[in-house]
């Protein structure tokens, strides 16, 4: 990771650390918590899609596995938080491996539909396995997170927990991208033939990054479950998977910072659009389309390009 990225990471960490002292209030902090969670998932998607070039339309499944695993284990079986978090991660890793080995042999749209199908199947299991998941009515009264005697019982505390994990994941991802493994990932996206000629084991690498992104999503899911204390299958359906993808593309999925930016923006935007009442879906769709039309590479890379374009036009 270059010096520039260290500087960016440091600035972001400082900003994250001081932000709550400027905007207190449960509501805004909750929005920031959701931003952090979505950011975590989209970061994983960015590694998988933007860097390794593998599409997933089923990432909400891993988000859900994390959430339900910790939710079910803590409420029904009295597991401790740590154990159930760990169980969520392990289960996601297992599912990612089992599903990933055959699925990642597929390419392009076939991979898209396979991941989509898997996401839907997991969704149906959440719905139908009522004894533990509570079915469509959801699972409520999931206990809060604690570290020893310290309870993360306010949005203020939870904010630091979520963003702490988020920044760790960001640190991990940035290191990864600028390493042997990260270069291999990107080379795979550039040319699979050449990458394998250079000794890059494509299938192993694909599985690895798929598992990593699943772990990010699972951790986010577990945190979500404990934060909201209520989960239902609807939080983990196909549209949620698509929304994660949308966040990535809007921000710029080929860059981890873009992914984070996209997740933050699209978490905040619907809150802002509350002023439009029920017509927010129309405004929301229009804004998304405008961004995609004027900055198809995403906001992060698109904004400078767009500004340059505007500037040039005014000059002539």
């Amino acid at each position: 990771m270059g010096r520039k990225n260290y500087f960016k990471l440091l600035s972001l960490s400082i900003a994250v650390a001081v932000l709550p002292f400027f905007i207190r209030g449960d509501y805004y902090l909750s929005v920031l918590v959701f931003m952090g969670l979505n950011g975590l998932i989209v970061m994983g998607l960015s590694l998988l899609m933007g860097y390794a070039g593998q599409i997933s339309l089923g990432h909400a499944a891993f988000y859900g596995i994390g959430a339900y695993c910790t939710g079910v284990l803590t409420t029904h079986f009295g597991f401790s938080i740590y154990l159930s978090f760990l169980a969520g991660i392990i289960l996601s890793v297992l599912v990612a491996i089992i599903v990933g080995i055959p699925a990642l042999r597929l390419k392009g749209h076939y991979l898209a539909v396979a991941t989509l199908g898997i996401g839907e199947i997991v969704f149906i299991i959440f719905n139908e396995w009522m004894k533990y998941t509570g079915g469509p009515s959801g699972l409520s009264n999931i206990p809060g997170v604690h570290l020893g005697n310290f309870q993360f019982n306010s949005s203020f505390r939870f904010y630091y927990l979520v963003w702490g994990i988020n920044l760790l994941a960001l640190f991990f991802s940035l290191n990864l991208i600028h390493s042997r493994v990260g270069r291999a990932l990107r080379s795979m996206h550039g040319s699979e033939t050449a990458a394998s000629a250079m000794g890059v084991n494509l299938s192993f690498l694909k599985i690895q990054v798929f598992v990593l992104s699943a772990v990010y999503a699972s951790v986010a899911g577990s945190l979500y479950a404990h934060f909201v204390s209520f989960i239902s299958p609807n939080n983990f359906g196909l549209m949620v998977s698509v929304m994660f993808l949308m966040m990535g593309v809007i921000g710029g999925i080929h860059n981890i910072w873009g992914a984070l930016l996209g997740a933050s923006l699209l978490t905040f935007l619907p809150e802002y659009l509350r002023v439009f009442n029920q017509y927010d879906i129309l405004v929301y769709g229009a804004i998304l389309l405008a961004i995609l039309l004027f900055m198809p590479e995403g906001i992060l890379e698109g904004t400078p390009v767009l500004i340059r374009k505007l500037f040039r036009q005014r000059k002539t």
């Binding site: 599409i55 898209a112 539909v113 898997i118 879906i281 769709g285 995609l292």
Partner: protein, 297 residues
């Protein structure tokens, strides 16, 4: 109720569902062939088809027959505008961005539909009145014949179009190799426009014919798109006939699994079969390796 009449009933239900999936799947295929895009707003064409039909017949009191064709024309225009405004300007963009564009369009279309029609579902009278027909102990609504008939007719017409007409063949050529096609003097941009228009028309036919059975509301699209997408992929992306057959297969699997195994897991069973097929034969039931490799992200 004996087993035979049950089976007939499940078959009828499966065919009805399947014909809708087939038409949506065919719509996917047409656009995919011309552009390589998976148009996730395909379900919204169906929604518009249903709701515009309702508007024309119930509000404007236009006779059913005439309204049907006006609906097709209007939805086709929507498809044309969609392509010109959102797809055409984005020529140099990666496929994944284009797919996300179609998702954004789908959200936007839903917004427009909600703005115009509100959130309530709407119903249509059947195309022809009459009591359910009893056949081998199963009851079949006359409308089901309309749905099946229209979808079969559409599939046949599409086949003729792609195999017998110059324009159709030109579109198929675009599918094979866009650059080569444009060098041959085919106007690729026009072909892409045509593909959106055609697939919008298909959506409209599906929407208008299913509404008397299944009602229609502004947010019905995504689920239909999902099923249609599965049909298109299962049939081997890029193969129209494959998508149609796969659509019927998915419909029938769903209905039989609901009838004999578990209604809660009917979608899961259909999806598991889909995924298994992909794992065993990664290019769909009817697809060849080569076709599957043409377009990637």
């Amino acid at each position: 109720m004996d087993l035979q009449s049950q089976i007939v009933q499940y078959l009828v239900t499966g065919l009805t569902l399947g014909s809708i999936y087939a038409m949506v799947g065919l719509g996917f295929t047409i656009i995919y062939n011309a552009t390589g895009i998976i148009n996730l707003a395909q379900g919204e064409f169906v929604m518009f088809g249903g709701l515009i039909m309702v508007f024309l017949t119930a509000t404007l009191r236009i006779p059913m027959f005439l309204a049907f064709f006006i609906t097709l024309a209007l939805v086709t225009v929507i498809g044309i505008i969609y392509e010109r405004v959102f797809i055409n300007p984005l020529k140099q963009t990666s496929l994944i961005t284009l797919i996300i564009v179609t998702v954004a369009v789908s959200i936007f279309f839903r917004g427009i539909a909600m703005f115009i029609w509100g959130k309530n579902p709407y119903s249509l009278p059947p195309f022809s009145s009459g009591k359910p027909i009893m056949f081998a102990g199963a009851a079949i609504l006359p409308q089901i014949f309309w749905v099946l008939g229209l979808s079969l007719l559409t599939v046949i017409l599409m086949n003729l179009f792609f195999n017998r007409t110059i324009t159709g063949k030109a579109m198929s050529a675009c599918a094979g190799n866009r650059l080569a096609a444009s060098l041959m003097g085919i106007n690729v941009s026009k072909m892409i426009l045509l593909s959106f228009a055609l697939s919008a028309t298909l959506g409209a036919i599906a929407g208008a014919s299913i509404t008397p059975i299944a009602l229609m509301e502004y947010d019905r699209g995504p689920l239909l798109a999902l099923k249609g997408f599965c049909a298109a992929v299962l049939g081997g992306l890029g193969l129209g006939t494959g998508a149609v057959v796969a659509g019927f297969i998915i419909g029938i699997i769903e209905s039989f699994s609901a009838g004999f195994i578990s209604s809660g897991f009917k979608d899961a069973i259909a999806l598991i079969i889909l995924i298994l097929v992909l794992f065993i034969k990664p290019s769909g039931i009817f697809g060849s390796e080569e076709v599957g490799k043409v377009k990637q992200f």
